[in-house]
Amino acid sequence: MSKIKRIRKSDGVIVPEDVQDQLLLTTVSDDELNALMLEPMKRTGPLFWGTLAVLTAVFFWGLYAWGYQIRWGFGVAGINRPVYWGMYISTFVFWVGISHAGTMISAVLRIFKADWRRPITRGAEAMTAFALMMAGMYPMIHVGRLWKVIWMFPYPNNRHLWPNFQSPLMWDMLAITTYLVGSSLYLYLALIPDLGMARDNSTGWRYKLYRAMALGWRGTEAGWHKLEKALGIFAIVIIPIFLSVHSIVSWDFAVTTQPRWNSTILPIFFIIGAVFSGLSALATILVLVRWGMKLDFYLRKEHLDNVGKLIFVAGISWIYVWFAGLIVEWYSNMPITVELLHDEWYGDLAPLFITMMVLNIIPIFFLAFRKVRRSPLFLLILTLMVNVGMYIERFLIVAGNLMRNYMPFNWGDYKPTWVTISIVAMTFAGFILFYMIFTRVIPYVPVWEVKQGRLRFSTRQVGRVEVVTITQVD
């Protein structure tokens, strides 16, 4: 017997949940839309300030640990032969990965004119900027003698010191700087009209801040046209930058002769992993900001659903690329590679490896279900799992693989110290801290883009159901 539920004429026209939500958006005035964004920015309770205080404390503790490391030398970080790249470089790769999905998702969705992107793009771009700032600290932390960082800059000097442009570390610094500059400028350009809106609706220190940042924006017809053109060009340019940054980070590893690093698949593996972890971090942040600022009106379940779908696709791709790398390594049967694989599957690293696989694969399975993707709580839990899993993955790639090499007398282990853990915690606290402050100072949702989206939005009845039709206006 058929279980299909029939929709009869007496049921009237069905308006799906997402369409209802979008229709709601068209019923509010521009003033209300402005207020719906600006008011939550001023609401801060004990939980907000308490969290801020804890994060600030962790951040300063990390700074103290960094100072301690500078004072007593790199040995206090637990770095020793043969694992010269430990948690610092693992965390560096992790942050670069997190940074990836932000601007990428915003740019790709802008190019393809995906309408659902509008409320989430700024949050994604800010995630990129702050994650890159945290990543950018690691070369300085890892270099040990911080004051010699200037040697990486090309300037004529009487000692004839010159940066080695053939060094992957040099490529790294330049690529990350480029992505940070590009992402920050892209974020700021799209922000200018909303800063103008915030300026017109603020008083006191906020007015002064927004006035300075809005640069005298009025919203003239020519101004809008040029801004949109610039954002369109930016979106196209930023995508190859995004692809190159994580490729270059992966070449730090791939151009060495270290077993399991010296592989042509590593750039693709890094990029896919970055998209997987970055999208997961974006979903985590969207759920938390939506809950913390009560932005349900802007950040709807439709957005969580769509980001969830993207994570699902990225997750499946990550499994594929991981397997593609593994099958070649396993089949080659190179002694050191086999040793490393055994260590990972059955040896000391097995608990980490199994945890990583469980945390990365289980969420992918659940994200196949619409109800899970639309549940903020489930999405939060699953995406946090992915990010813990991806952090472990970075650690296994960097520190795990360095424990074994072509010279067995040179094998060893690695254990991070309190200094390492404190410094790593500093960047996690710093990221959350800066992001939280950002949400209360800068309009989190691109209000002008949401307003523009209303111009595109219309519905029509198809049979018994109301469907969305899109008008091409940008």
Binding site: F165, Q166, N201, R211, A222, H225, A230, P240
Partner: protein
């Protein structure tokens, strides 16, 4: 010399604005005397105005070329001025030079987009300008600058007849 005035009117929607602009053009007001300020971008020509010429792509191309030249110079020329002999490596390696050149090209490109668009939009500009905060409430503002005094009545009428509100001689305000 004829005395000139400035005039501003507000409109609730784009169609009314376009109709008012039509009537204003018919009065002989020139394109550079008219500014439309809106809360969101409208499709080009939707308000009945000409295509807006923009030099941004040329600025971006110039930025990219400069970035390419800088990257090439740093990666391929300077290593010969400051030679670093690393065993077996050429002073200038092709693939690493390609990476550095690529990165500098992209870096200068994004900076050129940013500086180019700010220059095109003519910001930062903190001097007093004609503006109304009602734009952020969703109104479209039509600003006529330096129109002859004897055209004022006709311009007001053109705006009013198309649903224009709060038509007034604006004061410049701090932005």
């Amino acid at each position: 010399m004829n005395k000139t005035i400035n005039l501003m009117g507000l409109f609730e929607d784009d169609t009314a604005t376009a109709a008012a602009l039509d009537d204003i053009y018919d009065l002989g007001v020139q394109d550079d005397q008219i500014t439309v300020i809106s809360p969101i971008p409208y499709p080009e020509q939707s308000l009945g105005r000409e295509h807006i010429w923009i030099r941004l792509p040329l600025i971006v191309l110039a930025g990219s070329a400069l970035g390419f030249a800088t990257g090439f110079f740093l990666s391929s020329v300077t290593p010969r001025l400051y030679p670093i002999n690393v065993s077996g490596h050429p002073l200038t390696g092709g693939p690493p030079a390609a990476i550095i050149t690529y990165i500098f090209t992209m870096l200068f490109t994004v900076i050129a987009i940013f500086i180019g668009v700010l220059w095109e939009i003519d910001v930062p500009g903190f001097e007093k300008k004609f503006y109304t905060k009602r734009v952020t409430s969703g109104m479209l503002s039509v600003l006529l600058e330096n129109i002859p005094l004897n055209q004022e009545k006709a311009a007001v009428s053109a705006m009013e007849s198309n649903g224009g509100q709060d038509i007034h001689r604006p004061e410049k305000m701090t932005l």
